[in-house]
């Protein structure tokens, strides 16, 4: 059962949301609170007002209490799908395959066959946390014990059941499967981030 709590004096956190319900509640919250910043975590949604707003907690509680017909199917249709071409020659591909008891080729086939969805974007501008839409495959691989000081821009990586793409050169501890040349974040663009929470991502092997 999700909970609602004050988060400072100008935000409210909806917590303990089942992960697969977050995109749907996120859509509803964005419509219900158009003047506020609404953004997701893995099982949370934060609603932030521009100035201290003591009534926000009650507003969110009342809104959550309203029964809503399930519009999950509609939400899915509204979210775009991005196809990222990947050269699967990452430094950690062999190790990931060994950990998952698969061959490298099997890892690539499974990774490209999986539908991924952007759960949240954080850690760095444009850095997406991608979760599998269906739980057909166990992607639990631990992060590197010692993070790399420099991960290449466009690195496609895996850790703790999620995929990610590093938008720029930065330190990182996820397992690198390959790289994509698609630009994930460009502050000069009208929409600087290619991806948004709720978007779908498919990976394709570049042969």
């Amino acid at each position: 059962m999700s909970t609602v709590a004050a988060y400072g004096d100008r935000a409210v956190l909806i917590d303990r949301i089942p992960a697969h319900e977050v995109p749907h509640i996120l859509c509803r919250a964005e419509e219900a609170f158009p003047d506020f910043l609404v953004r997701p975590g893995l099982n949370t949604i934060l609603i932030t007002a521009p100035i201290p707003t003591a009534s926000l907690l009650d507003q969110v509680r009342q809104w959550l209490a309203i029964p809503q017909s399930s519009r999950a199917a509609n939400d899915a249709r509204q979210s775009p799908t991005h196809i990222l071409e990947v050269t699967y020659t990452g430094a950690d591909l062999a190790r990931v395959a060994a950990h998952l008891n698969m061959t490298e080729e099997e890892v690539v086939v499974a990774h490209t066959a999986t539908s991924w969805r952007v759960a949240l974007i954080g850690f760095a501008p444009g850095f997406p946390y991608l979760v599998p839409v269906a739980d057909h495959h166990d992607w639990s691989v631990p992060r590197l014990a010692t993070p790399r000081t420099q991960v290449p821009a466009g690195a496609v990586a895996l850790a703790a059941g999620m995929s990610a793409v590093y938008p720029t050169v930065m330190p990182g501890g996820w397992n690198i499967l390959g790289t994509t040349t698609t630009t994930l974040f460009d502050p000069g663009r009208d929409r600087p981030s290619l991806l948004a929470p709720g978007d779908f991502v498919l990976f394709r092997s570049k042969s």
Binding site: G8, D9, R39, G41, I121, G126, F185, P192
Partner: protein, 312 residues
Amino acid sequence: MTMTHLEVLSIGVTLFEDTGRFGYETVGVPGSGVFDPRAYRALQGLLNLDHNPVVEHLAGTLEVRLPQSAPGGVTYAVIGGSHIHQGGSRVSAGTVMVLAPGDTLIVEAQSGAPAWVAFSGLTTSKVLGSSAYDTFSRLGPAPIQVGDQLAVTTDQAGTLVGRFMAPKPFALFQSSLVIRYVPGPHQEIDLCTNTWEVSSVTRSGIRLQKPHDVPLSWANTPVAVLPSLPTLPGVIQMPPSGNPVVLGPDAGVTGGYHIAGVVITADLGKLAWLPEGGHVAFQPVTGETAGAVNDSLTEALNTKVLDPRGIC
């Protein structure tokens, strides 16, 4: 009003900042902006700034010079700093002054005594609609370097010169021992029984150390890390080490540590004034109290600045 420039002769930790960039947190971009938003609003009132950036100078010696060939004087004002000199004379913080052609301005800053300097017409490049420099994401106009030229304008009529801050806002700009916060959302962490030592202060965050002899009341929390959730500046994170981190304006927008509470909006600026090696205590308040405090702060900062010449 004519465009001119200032020559940068010396810098320390010296950046352009404004009110920050908002609406991009959803795609991982911190709001950034001035470390003390109150200082920006005070300078905005003193110099009638539109949305011009200011120079944020957190440590070292800032020295700028208006070339002798400049077509006129450039008005400025400083909030904070440990020493301010113009042409060898001391200058008071919170007063609008004019830098004449050939004059040099020196502003010293250090931990516990940060400085913000506004110059008439200061402009620089923008990224995502803001001139704020984000030290974490490295977005925004680059940190100011020796040899840079700061684009400013001469002050047309000098009507602002002599303005100074009313006593109430002036009193805000000093180190404070108590910072107010709203507890939660992870309620089981008690912050207010301890006085914390300040280990380091940066725009990404303030690291605190627990006192040696005091056990933490939450030490039995079984879960060290949570599924990533959105964060805000002012969030007080409690990592497994037991040494809290208070997020600054450039902190990443998501995190996985327990959150003991969030500093109230009105007290966010106090974080910039915490001295390394000093101490701080946290006082829990309700959302209602936080709102009332913010309203008083806004009123104080909007107090009409006084002009000793009797012109408003």
